[in-house]
Amino acid sequence: MIEINNLGFSYGPKAVLKNISMKVSEGNIYGLLGENGVGKTTLLTLLCGLKKPQEGTISVDGRDPFDRQPSLLCEQFYLPDEVSPVHAKAIDFAKENGVFWPSFSLDKFRSILAEFEVEDNQRMDAMSAGQLKKAWISFALACNAKYYYLDEPTNGLDIPSKAQFRKAVTKYTSEDSTLIISTHQVRDLENIIDPIIILDNQAVLVNATMEEISEKLYFDYGTEIQPGALYIEQTPGGCIQVYPNTTGEESKVNVEAFFNTVHAHKDLVKPMFNK
């Protein structure tokens, strides 16, 4: 369990995160959404211990991540947006680094890499950006960590690789694993992320499961425009409309439409999910 209490972080005079409090429960794949510059990457780096909170506390199973204790480091994996090119073959990199994660599986690494159609004896410094990202994703998932912090994991991946990524995440992470995935590519991941966290300037707007979202908001994919819609987006076959769910009827959540609804009606939507 990850507990964040009154977290604050600034870059010089510019406050990025302010008074953030939330709980992240185990066994879920969280989607961390937000506009550019709202602090998604900062939050992930604070969670994994790369940065020290300037205000408030973070507790991961009772431990402070900035202490960078080996027992916590071997239970987590942080995958940055831009990964480091290593001067080694992918398989050698995996063998050398995998020894630090007790549950690391070399066979799993090979399997995931094969699914991504990347050869394990290829040098990582000779790989394209997409291939390099796939090698790092394969290594991360092969570590069998308890906590994953993935920053824009689908950036740089081609269309088939995005599907392979979704498949790998669902197939190769255990039920106890908690993933926090920061992304702008919500369509790439909307079938796997649940719950959703939406960060806004210095605050958490929403931290809700798909079920909760569906309970509060109705996603209408019809062609008839509803007068009380909070958000309307024209699509080739009709439109997507979002409005408060007053009937209790279930609907399929469209994450992008949900994000845009929250963004357009912060004052209205935030209280709905903070009750």
Binding site: K51, P70, C74
Partner: protein, 272 residues
């Protein structure tokens, strides 16, 4: 799980660190270690081209090259762990599941033992090989170095015998070792502190400190030395020299400890 220092985990990490060092820096260390061979070839070519006869570098020039190569190796320490300040590589390093103490000890061992050892092995092997195959090359530096060290000890013994304060052979060896540690740690610390222009920044600070110390010593030392050389006899002068040497050793030791502490602080507090 021991969160501070676990020998098994340290050994795993140290092997990993050695592999990284070998992969990323062994070529440079070997190249610097091969300076004697490079210098020998250049000298030989120049003598053949300009003087039309076979001449090998004199021992004084070879010693200068050894000192220069070692100085370059010292400067190179800004690069050995310089990647720690890079966002991508530095983040990956911080996230490796080993404790800060284990990473720190490994870093010191690689910097102070492994890299200099690799350099000296390569340097003296090439130099010895050249001495073996070319009779005009002269004696190997390693045999000469032992002789030079003995002479230095004898010289110090003469001062020490004349002084009531003694100076022992191990203290010279210790002084040499601490001095070399101090230099290596200084460049290592600059390498992990500065994000850009690491070498320029390190040299600029060194230059600034040297200038400041020269100004201070230049203001007080000449009159002080004149006074004591006039008023002291030979025994007292020898005692004074030994005392100054001991002060110098103490200052170097304190600086080395300070640098080692600085590196530890940096590892503890580095953020990305």
């Amino acid at each position: 799980m021991n969160e501070t220092f676990n020998f098994s985990r340290f050994w795993t990490y140290f092997k990993y660190d050695l592999k990284q060092m070998w992969r990323n820096h062994s070529k440079a260390a070997i190249l610097i270690g091969g300076a004697s061979a490079i210098f020998y070839v250049i000298w030989l070519l120049c003598s053949l081209v300009f003087a039309q006869h076979w001449t090998t570098p004199p021992i004084a020039a070879r010693l200068v090259i050894l000192i220069l190569a070692f100085a370059i190796l010292e400067l190179y320490q800004v690069r050995t762990y310089g990647h720690l300040t890079e966002k991508k590589a530095g983040s990956a390093w911080l996230m490796i599941p080993a404790s800060k103490a284990e990473k720190y000890v490994s870093m010191l061992l690689v910097t102070l033992v492994v890299i200099p050892l690799l350099f000296f092995v390569v340097y003296f092997f090439i130099d010895g090989f050249l001495a073996l195959v070319d009779p005009t090359y002269g004696k190997a530096l390693l045999t000469g170095a032992v002789g030079t060290y003995k002479e230095a000890i004898e010289g110090l013994s003469a001062i020490s015998n004349a002084s009531p304060i003694s100076i022992s052979n191990p203290s010279l060896l210790f002084y040499t070792f601490v001095g070399f540690c101090c230099n290596f740690l200084y460049f290592l610390l600059c390498g992990i502190c500065f994000k850009k222009n690491k070498l320029v920044a390190a040299i600029a600070i060194l230059f600034g400190v040297s200038l400041l110390l020269s100004l201070i010593s230049g203001a007080f030392l000449p009159s002080f030395v004149n006074n004591i050389s006039d008023s002291l006899d030979e025994t007292q002068l020898a005692e004074w020299v030994v005392r100054m040497m001991n002060i110098s050793v103490a200052v170097t030791c304190i600086t080395t400890v300070g640098l080692a502490w600085g590196i530890w602080r940096r590892i503890k507090t580095i953020q990305h």
